[in-house]
């Protein structure tokens, strides 16, 4: 075990994969963003220069190139930068990467990880703040991973890169600097498993990516008021670990969901729907949903803050349903 940042954990997984698999290639630049962790990628890009391709600003064809290359036998890691830019390749993700295996009757495999940074970032305004998780999940054929801690990031990225499926990997820039214990050896965390990040008995808070950090903060605050909150980290949106999530909801009898994106047809909507289908009888209170206020993201800092779900709004939602 070593304490590492999330960015270092990602680099760990990429390094092991580059060493292990000569057919593993990376397309894109600035895979660790511009927030102070980017230097961790430098050695990688130097030692494996021939495995990195710097594409033009042409997301559609670049994505197709990655997809076609994956079909031909390579394992690909394709970095889009801000998730918003991935919309320029939306048709390629939804109708090419997601459908090829099924449409070919299983003949074609598409081992590719689409990497992108989602969410509110402070000043991202209306065109650089997208959280596309729910949109992706509404289409079959794409796995969706959104870990929160360094340990999960390394293990899940290794699993994704050893797999044979297209995976949309949604990171949040603010996670890159988070540090935590990371096993030094190589390991995999199977895709499709949620993780209970904190045990509790009064309410279940289901979140993924950055909102998990908010949920844990909220749980601390609630604990002071004697409210015991369980925090479930979805981690893998597709496939979704219904058992773990429903079990927690049935256990506590109360659910609050948290989304960094807007509420309409969101991940939170899906979790709430699951509860209403599979834990209805166990629910002691209405479900509470916390999400980004439904508006194109305004630039002004106070406005952005006002639409950002955070610990306070989670605490308020929990208290509302406990009232």
């Amino acid at each position: 075990m070593t304490v590492k940042t999330y960015a270092e954990a990602i680099v760990d997984a990429l390094t092991i994969s580059l060493n292990e698999n000569p057919k593993f290639h990376i397309i894109g630049r600035g895979i660790l963003g511009h927030g102070g962790q980017e230097h961790h990628a430098k050695p990688l890009m130097q030692n494996f220069a021939d495995r990195f391709t710097d594409p033009p600003t042409a997301e559609g064809a670049t994505a197709s190139m990655g997809i076609g290359a994956a079909m031909s036998g390579l394992t690909m890691f394709l970095h889009f930068g801000t998730a918003s830019f991935a919309l320029e390749a939306w048709n390629q993700l939804i109708h090419e990467a997601a459908t090829a295996h099924s449409m070919s009757g299983g003949q074609i495999k598409v081992p590719i990880v689409f990497h992108m940074y989602h969410g509110l970032r402070g000043g991202g305004s209306g065109q650089h703040s997208l959280s596309p998780q729910a949109m992706v999940a509404n289409n079959p054929g794409l796995m969706v991973m959104q870990p929160t801690c360094p340990r999960d990031a390394k293990g899940m990225l290794r699993a994704a890169l050893k797999g044979s499926n297209p995976v949309v990997w949604v990171d949040h820039a603010s996670l890159l600097g988070q540090s935590g214990e990371v096993p030094d050896e190589d390991y995999e965390i199977p895709l499709g498993r949620a993780d209970v990040k904190r045990d509790g008995s009064d309410v279940t808070i289901v979140a993924s990516s950055r909102p998990v950090l908010w949920a844990l903060e909220a749980a601390d605050i609630l604990a002071k008021d004697g409210i015991s909150a369980e925090v479930v980290d979805v981690r893998s949106l597709v496939p979704l670990d219904e058992e773990t999530i429903v079990a927690s909801i049935r256990k506590t009898g109360r659910l609050v969901t948290v989304d960094e994106g807007i509420q309409m047809c969101s991940v939170g909507s899906e979790i709430a729907a699951l509860a209403s289908e599979k834990a209805q009888d166990a629910l002691k209170a209405p479900v509470g949903r916390v999400a980004r206020v439904a508006t194109p993201v305004p630039f002004s800092p106070l406005l952005e803050k006002a639409i950002t779900p955070g610990p306070d709004r989670i605490v308020a939602a929990v208290k509302r349903i406990l009232a």
Binding site: G68, S72, Q92, M103, S104, I108, S164
Partner: protein
Amino acid sequence: MLAKPSERLALLERMLTMRRFEEEVLRIAKDHPYIGRQHLHIGHEATGAAVAAALTPEDLFHTTHRNHGYLIARGADPGRAMAEIMGRKDGLNGGRGGPWHLCDRMAGFQSTSAMVGGSVGLAIGAGFGLMKQGSKAIGVAHFGDGTLDEGICFESFNLASILSLPVLFLCENNAKEGQRPSSMLAAKALRDLPHALQIETNVVDGRDADAMHDAAKGAVAHIRSGKGPFFLQAQLERWPGSHQIKPEFPTGVTDLSLAWEEDRIEGKHADWTRDHDGIRLYVKTLLAENAATRDQILTLDKKVKQRMDDARAFAEKSPYPDPATAADHVFA
């Protein structure tokens, strides 16, 4: 030009197989309305067969909604191809793809996209992948003239050019002035676009199998030698049935004897049969150059037709896949 008469006869057989296959597909579409709209490759056979003959089995091919001809030309089993078009269990894709998405990995095909521009983007990926794996094989993108309207086609040309990818861009230009869908490109000529991106180009009469084969061999040699992508454009006349919604035989079932009994060519689309049917033209050429006899050709055609009858029988016998398997293969 192919030197040996036997090679030219083999090329004709490829073309005939493609044509008779599509004619059977028309009958299938009539008998099984559920399979819906077909985009047949009729009229493109000289191009398709000639290019296929210039490729090796390792070359990875991405085709479009108009894919049947290429699958057959590269050796996919006609029975399994028909079964796929009919959505049967023994279809190439197990019935999951259907007529717009025929795929046979064993015949060198990757995912067949019916999104205009899809094949172009995926094929540069095939080229990228083959290059990185140190293979001498190339990626091939088959697409139509209308595909150049899509930005992804431009982006893919650009990527292939800057990365010098081993990719053949095979454009079948069947545009008909003012008839949609057809390219609406402001360029004087389609080739002006790849040319502006410093991609070698060549434009050939797609009805002329010999010329097309020479051009394809030249383009493939250029690419294999590491000189980067190549844009090969086949000039074709749109077959009257190309975008039909209901299945019909606008030009009738192909009658090879019209190659030597031209005065019998008639009907609304006589001009197409006379001037634009690459198969009739090639038969004429082979006869004129004594590369084959009428008997040889008619025997060949008989053999091909028999194959198609057997293929159809196979496909008809094939059951529909079990509904319980509807959600198989979502993930590998």
